[in-house]
Structure formats: C-alpha cells, structure tokens
C-alpha cells in the first residue's frame, strides 16, 4: 500500500493521507524501516466516533522526504505491536497505549511512560521494575529527588559489585499534559509560551518547530531577515548548551580547568542571546510570522566580536581538554553505543551522530534559512563518551561559523508579517534540529480551523533508552559521566 510522501514543514490535506488496514499498515511500516527508513513519529489520534487513527511518520534521510500513513482502529481494541520487529518503536507504542488505550499486542516492555507515576493517577497501571535475581545482585535506586539542581527521574541499577548489568529509567514525574494544553487554549501567544517551555533548555528549538508549523498552516512565509535571526538564535542556543555540557563533563571527572573555562564561556554565549531578546534562553524572541526583536548594527558588531572570541577560546580550551591524558582515560571507551544498537533504538542528534549515524535535520530536511546554505552532519564512529564530547566541540565551531555568516549576510526588510487564520483539515510535520537532536511537532487541524491534535516529540524521547544501554557493564561510578554525555531532558520527555 502506498504511503504519502511529504516534505518537512509542508502541510497536506488530512484527506490525502492514506488510511489503510492496520495489518497492512504494520507490515508496510516494518518493511520500510527494515529498508532504512527511520521512525519520526507514531501516535494515536482519537476520533469523534468510536475509532482511533494511528499515524506514523517515517523519514528517508537521504531523500529529504517523509512518508506518512494512518490506520483506523476501534477504540479499546488491540493491534499487533510493531516493537518486536522494530525496537525503536517501543516507547512510541507504550505512549499510544497510554494515550488511547489501544493495546499493542505482543509488546515486550509495556510499561507506563508518564501516567501512573508519582501518583498522577494511581488507577493507571503500576510501574513494575525489571528484576535480576541472584545472591550477588544488589539494586541501587537513585532519585526521583536528586542532589544538586537536576530534574526528577528515578534510576534503578541492578549491579554486581561496581558493575551495572541493567539500568531502568522511570520518568513521568513532570508530566504537565502539554499536548492537551496546546489544544485547550489556542491563543497563539499562549501556545507560543507553552512551546517555549516544552524543554527549558531548548526554547528556540521547540519554538522554531512550533512557529514553522503555525506559519505553514497559516499559509504565510516568515521574512528572510527573521529566518536568519531564528538561525542565529538556534545556533547560539546550541553553542551555549554544548559549552555548558563540556563544562559539566569536565566537572564530572573532577577536571577543574575544563569545568571553569567552558563554564565561563557558556555564560558569554547565553548572554549574547540576552543581547538579542532580553532573555538568556531566548524566551520571547520567536512569534508566528517572524521574530519580536531585530538585530541592530551595533548588536551585529557585538555578536561578531563575541563569536570570534568564543571561537579562539573554544579551540584553545578544547585542545587542552582533549589532550589531557587523565581526561581521555575517563572519556574513551566509556558508555559505548555501537552503530547497530544506535540504529535499532533510533538514536537521534549528537548521541546518534557519535555512534556513526550522520543524521541532522538541518542537513537532511532543511527548514527556514537553512535551505540557503549547506550544513554538514558530522559523525564519529566510536560511540563513547569521548565521541559525544568531541562532537559537541566540532558542532560549537560549526555553529559559530553559521552565526558569523548569518550576521554578516543579514538581509534588509521587516522581521515579522501578520499571520492569518490557520487552515482546517490539514496535517503538517515540522522538524527542527535542536541542540539535542531531532524535534518533531505534528499538527492536525480540524474542519473548524482549530488544532485537533498537537503531537510533540523531544529528542529525549528517542534517546533515554540509549543511556540505559550505554551504562551496561560499565562501573556504576561512571553513570553520571554517561548521563551527562547524553544530557537528556526530563520535562521534554514527560511533556
């Protein structure tokens, strides 16, 4: 059965999406994924009648095309799970079960994703942890309340001595019901504010995915100058967080020099975001139709000099960090994810690229101003903490170059246009490469021209399972280091 081929941030009529029999749908999905396509989104959309429509979005990264299809299933029914054939679908199918009650028959790991955790609704299915038996096995539970300023999440290790055999990560403590809130109040300002809070460290990333989707549905094109400012903000966000990550990675191995030098640079980077929008995290910058703050001539010079300074300092500090033998002995061969594993579980972003999967939405599905210049998706083969750290350094330099180019070539003209009402009966997928990886927002509009479904996927949704696999057979004392090398979002997962 033919799936509909679509393009990133280009709406199609909902009626054009083929609705096929669930068994054909499942077989087609498995067939396509085994021939190299990647699962971007897979979710349930309950209809007004007694059915639920399952939608799947698959990505063909080499061809810049997305494939979408749907299947109608009776509410409360079950369907044969995809996960046994395609492990990357495991968390999507758990979410489908939780959000719509459709039981994926034969799912090997059917546990709550968000609900039923932390007493949100105790009547939901309880969370049961995987147990290892044996006299020498001991369990270590960490969280959900942690020392330090960290989001809540529960980690349970099954160990023998210092060696971790299994890590299970229970999340959902920060579930806010974001997808429902996006539907309940559809004032653009309110939705914009919500989108910015999906993950507090990815304001521009999620914000860009949201505004792109809204502009596509409204049929407006944001002015060129605003697109460039969005690129500058998104890359500044990436630089800031990556610098902070390198600082924290140094801190986790007690390498004071790296911790303090990169930490100080991070402040410089996020302060540049403040120069533009008044917020160090870029809040309030984006709006459907453009941006709310312009970059003046004086600001341009400011940004350029900061970028030059950051580049010099980063290169110097990275040389010291990545040639320090004591640091390398901690980073190298720690927390390895092989390419086969990474593909199986569907890792995205720097974590995936560090395992040799060269995917980057900016390169594969260019959006906004990214369509006008090439972005190279860097990747490394080793899949260890070193690869994830070094890739961050490479991406910082790449992002600084992009910022410099965009500031220097900033066009004239307005920075925002008025947006009209959004079109009804549409389906749009908006992908954006946040610093953590592929962000996907899928919006379905009803016939009345209102959003009927707002599906959000943060890259953490794909990647948390990667962390669980990375620490297998590692020392438990290396867990914090592995964790920081992924640096995943709790609230972006919990929504």
């Amino acid at each position: 059965m033919k799936w509909l081929k679509i393009i990133n941030v280009q709406p199609v009529a909902l009626a054009d999406i083929p609705l096929i029999d669930i068994h054909d749908f499942r077989a087609g999905m498995i067939h396509r994924m085994h021939s190299g396509l990647r699962l971007v989104q897979f979710f349930a959309h309950p209809q007004e009648d007694t059915t639920v429509t399952l939608f799947a979005v698959l990505a063909d990264d080499g061809q810049a095309s997305l494939y979408v299809a749907g299947a109608k299933v009776a509410r409360g029914a079950d369907y044969p799970a995809v996960t046994p054939n395609v492990p990357a679908a495991h968390v999507f199918e758990r979410e489908i079960y939780e959000q719509s009650g459709l039981l994926p028959q034969g799912h090997p790991w059917l546990k709550p994703v968000r609900k039923g955790i932390a007493g949100i609704d105790p009547s939901e299915m309880p969370y049961e942890f995987f147990r290892m038996n044996g006299d020498e096995v001991h369990e270590v539970g960490v969280g959900p309340i942690h020392a330090g300023v960290i989001e809540p999440g529960h980690f349970r290790f099954s160990c023998t001595g210092e060696t971790v055999h299994h890590l299970e990560i229970e999340l959902g403590f920060q579930h806010r019901g974001l997808e429902a809130l996006m539907i309940r109040n559809q004032h653009p300002l309110y939705q914009m504010k919500l989108a910015e809070t999906i993950a507090g460290d990815t304001v521009i990333g999620h914000g860009t995915a949201f505004v792109n989707a809204m502009e596509a549905l409204g049929g407006v094109r944001c002015p060129r100058r605003a697109e460039q400012i969005r690129v500058i903000a998104l890359e500044l966000e990436r630089v800031g967080v990556h610098l902070g990550d390198l600082s924290a990675l140094s801190g986790d191995v007690a390498y004071l020099t790296g911790q303090s030098v990169f930490g100080a640079m991070r402040t410089q980077a996020i302060n540049t975001s403040m120069v533009i929008s008044g917020s160090r995290f870029g809040r309030g910058l984006l709006t459907p139709g453009g941006v709310r703050f312009d970059i003046s001539g004086a600001m341009k010079r400011d940004i350029l000099s900061t970028v030059d300074e950051l580049q010099d300092k980063t290169e110097l500090a990275a040389e010291v960090l990545f040639t320090s033998s004591s640091v390398l002995s901690r980073f190298e061969r720690t927390g390895i994810i092989s390419e086969a594993t990474a593909r199986n579980i569907g890792l995205v972003g720097p974590a995936g690229r560090a395992s040799g999967i060269p995917i980057d939405v900016r390169a594969d599905f260019p959006f906004g101003a990214y369509a006008s210049f090439p972005v190279h998706a860097f990747s490394l083969k080793s899949g260890d903490v070193f690869a994830r750290a070094y890739l961050r350094y490479v991406e910082i330099i790449q992002s600084l170059r992009i910022i410099r180019e965009q500031v220097e070539t900033l066009g004239d003209g307005p920075v925002s246009v008025n947006t009209g009402p959004i079109k009804g009966g549409q389906f749009v997928v908006s992908l954006c490469e946040g610093w953590r990886g592929e962000i996907a927002h899928t919006v379905i509009t009803g016939r009345d021209g209102r959003c009927a479904r707002y599906k959000i996927k943060d890259p953490s949704f794909n990647n948390w399972f990667g962390l669980a696999l990375a620490v297998r057979m590692e020392g438990i004392s290396d867990f914090p280091l592995c964790n920081k090398s992924f640096n995943l979002s709790y609230c972006g997962f919990d929504l």
């Binding site: 001991h138 210092e162 801190g251 007690a254 004591s326 002995s329 901690r330 020392g475 914090p480």
Partner: protein, 305 residues
Amino acid sequence: MKILFTLFVYLIAPFLLIGLVNKAKALWAGRRGAPVRQPWFDLVKLLRKGEIISRTTSFVFRLAPPINVAAAVLAVLLVPLPRQQALLHFPGDFVLFAYTLGLARFMLVAAAMDTGSSFEGMGAAREVTFASIVEPAFFILLGTLALVTGDTSFADIFRSLNYSAGYTVLVKSLGTIVLFIMLLAEGSRVPVDDPNTHLELTMIHEVMILDYSGPDLAFMHYAAWLKSVVVITLLANLVAPSGIGPAGGFLFFSALFVILAFSVAAVESLMARLRMSHVPQFIFLMTALAITAFVVVLFFRYGRI
C-alpha cells in the same frame, strides 16, 4: 613549643589546609573563592545546627563521630614535631598510630553500613578496598625506616634517619612520594576521590557521611581534615633536616604545610579523577615504592637481597 605545636595542629591546621586548597583551586579557576577562614565558619555553623538521625540507624551510627574525632586526636599526640619527641611516645608507637586510624575507619564504615543506604554501602566497600592497599604500604614504609635505624618509635626513627648512611636519601625520597599519595588517598582528594562532587554514585568518603548532619557532621569533617594534617606532619618529620631546634621544626612544618596544600590544589586543578577501577593501580604505586625502599635498605645495609 610542643604544646604550642599540638594546639596549632588541633585548632588551626585542619581548617587552614582545606581553606588553602579551596582558595588555590578557586584562583586557578579564575574565581575569587571563599575566604581561607571559611572552614572554621562552616564547622561553627554545623555545631550550632540541629541534627536529623535516620530511624533505621542504631547506636553504631551515633558512636562513629566521637570515636573518629577521638582517634584523630590521639593520632596527633603520637606524631612528633619535627626533630622533637612526641607528647606520647613508646617503642612501637607507630603500630598504635596505624591502628588508631584503622579504628576510626572501622567505625566510619560500620556507621555507613548502619544506615542501610545502598549508596553508603558502596562507599564503604570502596573505602575498605582502597584502605586495604594503603595500610600494608604504610607498614612496609615504616618497617623499612625501622630497619634502617633500629628504632621503633616515631621520634627515634626520624631522628636516627638523619645520622644514617647516604643511601637513606633514596629511602627518604621514595618515602616522600609514598606519603604524598597517602595524603591524597586518605584525604579523599583527586585523583582518588572528588571532594566537590554532588554525585553520590561516584563518591567514596562523602557518601559515607551523607546521613550525618549538624554537630555529628562537624565531627566527621574535623576528624577527616585532622587525619590529612597528621599525614603532612609525618612527611615533615621524614624530610626535616637535622639540627633544627623546636622553633625551626615548627617553621619547617609550616612551610611544608603550605607547599603541600598548594600541591594538592595543583593536582586537583590539573588532572581529572581516575576511573574507579584504576584507583587500586594508583594506590599500588605506594606499595611498589615502599617495597623498593625496603629493597634498597636490604641491599645497602646487608649487602645482599
């Protein structure tokens, strides 16, 4: 002077050591840092606070802090001011010294296990594993020194060492490295432990005292800091030149104290912590060097190995 020195070790040195290390690290990191006297404030603050004691613990948990402080206080009395007699001295006093520290460690570990927390159990396991390598190395070193001099009391050993043959320079150099590694290992410093981390899973010393608060925590900190100062005093005794009076000994100790504080800070600033599974290799360096010193003595003193 002995009394003055002992008071200095009790009341000033432990705080000064931590204060200096933290200050030096802060300056290296480009920060202004907390004042050097901050550890005093911290301890006074803790002493004035209330305590929360976990219901799962028994008397062992309550007993550990006073015993740790008592052991550290006793250990100080056994270690002489360079080139002087210690306040307490008798043949074989270094054995009592080693087991005084051993008792403190036993109580610390027992109290950590007493809480029933999986973190503290892991910390205790790490502490005991590493201590079981540190202790023999320490004994081999002291046995070597006793062999050189034929004495069995700290002060006598260190005094006679200076009048022994030239090869003792080699023994002293090796001993200095052994004691410096012991300072890092026993003081819970980088590269063995990380005193600044908030990550329970990677801690050794800090995780064992996680459940303590208020005065008990102050006692635990004080005992740990004092232990580091004791190791520094031993090091000062080992390398002090002969013929310096009590005042000279004090001066020499103070100078070495500051140098070592900055050395510890330099190690912590310039290198990352070792992977937990590599720590034993690092501590075995102590053993290897101590055995080398022992072989050197056998060779030069008895002409054969």
